[in-house]
């Protein structure tokens, strides 16, 4: 059974029929149009499957499986959108999905990293941040910072911290936050959150799909 999470920049797959299933990534732009999978989530998913599971459901089921605590907040930061789910006493208590205002954060961070050739593993978390609503408006803020004499790398670092603070606020400002999605791979972003952050990686939604399919045991 082939499961997939079709994200904006990357698609994530796992073949649960394989002898030793393991998840893998593929750049979204390299996926062939005639690909068909057994079950999928993600904003492009309906193009590739007849069994679509919405992203928040996949996130929640993946979180329930991986975290196994009655109270938790799980925030997923991808290329295009951010979404969170909060559980209290083992039940869903709150959720949110921001795909319009506040969107394109991950995409913008990746774009800026490439444009300015920034190694996010080597950047310290800056002291200050600035107010950004979304990735696109944030770019204008970066240019403003640079024109007032701020170093380019420092301006981008402030932007990344601002995005992390926005995402933290969006998730209800928990002291302890589980983080999933592509931005888990950006150490500056992860360290920019206030409080404790526990990164779970890119495959939480895929894990959620395996739960929905009733095949979580096939993927230890």
């Amino acid at each position: 059974m082939l499961l997939a999470d079709f994200g904006t920049t990357y698609a994530k797959f796992i073949d649960l029929a394989a002898p030793e299933p393991h998840p893998y990534l593929e750049a979204a732009k390299k996926i062939k149009a005639d690909l068909r999978v057994d079950m999928a989530t993600g904003h492009n998913a309906k193009r590739y499957t007849t069994k679509y599971v919405n992203e928040l459901t996949a996130l929640a089921r993946g979180g329930e499986y991986l975290i196994n605590e009655p109270d938790f907040t799980l925030l997923d930061c991808g290329s295009r959108d951010i979404k969170f789910i909060r559980y209290e006493k083992g039940k869903m208590a709150d959720m949110g999905w921001n795909a319009e205002c506040g969107a394109s954060m991950g995409f913008t961070i990746e774009l800026l990293g490439r444009y300015y050739n920034i190694d996010f593993t080597k950047l310290e978390v800056p002291q200050t941040s600035f107010s950004v609503t979304c990735g696109v408006l944030g770019i204008s803020q970066i240019f403003d910072e640079i024109t007032t004499g701020c170093d380019e790398t420092q301006a981008v670092a402030r932007f990344v911290k601002s995005i992390a603070l926005n995402a933290h606020r969006f998730a209800g400002e928990p002291d302890r936050l589980y983080l999933s999605g592509g931005l888990c791979a950006n150490p500056l972003f992860v360290r920019s959150f206030p409080g404790t952050v526990i990164p779970l990686g890119r495959f939480v939604l895929l894990r959620g799909l395996s739960v929905v399919a009733g095949m979580e045991a096939s993927w230890p």
């Binding site: 904003h43 992203e55 039940k91 208590a93 921001n98 795909a99 319009e100």
Partner: protein, 244 residues
């Protein structure tokens, strides 16, 4: 005759008496590009009132009766001013403070939610008493105003009870803030308001108080993330299974 909001009963009775053909201008009647409204209103404005402007511009109306004040909103008052200034027909404003309760049989009925809310909207055009309907046991609740895009209502189960201003509409007491603020804490509830509407504050406030709630705002049409939010909320809260 165009009507906006819920005009007072005595006005509706007079309109009934003269058998006026009524158009509820809050509803999408004329399908034109919403961008036409930027000649009259800021682009970032309530989609319902932008719809009122589109309908007013393109329907052949003799007059418009707009309810403004606590039974509708301040934005309607300002839109009434603009339409009165820009149109050649009379634009009359009313302030509905009716307090006679008509009840809420549709709000609690077992019926597809789009049909239920469409019937509530239609009911404001009549002064007749509501037909009795058996109340169902609720599995979900929708709080708020009738959305501009009714397609988002199709995601709810038939056993969804209706609260908020829509309940006030059926009760014919649109300025009843106590009734508008009512919710059922025992049932998973979506608190909905149109984006850029003052009611977003009340929707968010009540959603924060409710133990199992989703605060939702939407502008012109319901996109994929809005639909997915509703679907996931109904499924994860136990109000509705993935297949419903």
């Amino acid at each position: 005759m165009g009507i906006v909001g819920v005009p007072p009963l005595h006005i509706m009775a007079a309109l009934e008496k003269c058998r006026a053909t009524l158009f509820d201008l809050d509803e999408t009647i004329v399908r034109r590009d919403m961008e036409e409204t930027i000649l009259y209103l800021p682009r970032v404005y309530c989609a319902i009132l932008r719809t009122v402007v589109i309908n007013s511009l393109h329907l052949d109306l003799q007059a418009i009766i707009m309810d403004v004040g606590p039974g509708k909103c301040d934005c309607a008052l300002h839109v009434a001013t603009i339409l009165a200034d820009r149109l050649s027909i009379p634009v009359l404003t009313t302030i509905n403070r009716d307090t006679t309760p008509y009840g809420n049989p549709l709000c609690t009925a077992d019926m597809p939610l789009p049909e239920k809310i469409a019937q509530i909207c239609k009911s404001i055009q009549s002064t007749a008493r509501h037909r009795e309907l058996p109340a169902c046991l609720p599995t979900a609740a929708f709080w708020g105003v009738p959305p501009r895009d009714f397609s988002l209502l199709a995601l709810f189960p038939n056993t969804t009870h209706v609260y908020g201003w829509t309940r006030c509409m059926e009760n014919k007491t649109p300025a009843d803030l106590r009734l508008e603020s009512l919710y059922n804490a025992a049932v998973p509830t979506v608190f909905f308001a149109q984006s850029f509407c003052a009611k977003t504050a009340l929707a968010k406030h009540l959603a924060d108080k409710h133990p199992c709630a989703l605060f939702l705002d939407n502008d012109i049409s319901a996109g994929s993330s809005v639909r997915a939010k509703i679907q996931a909320f109904l499924e994860l809260s136990g109000a509705c299974h993935a297949s419903c």
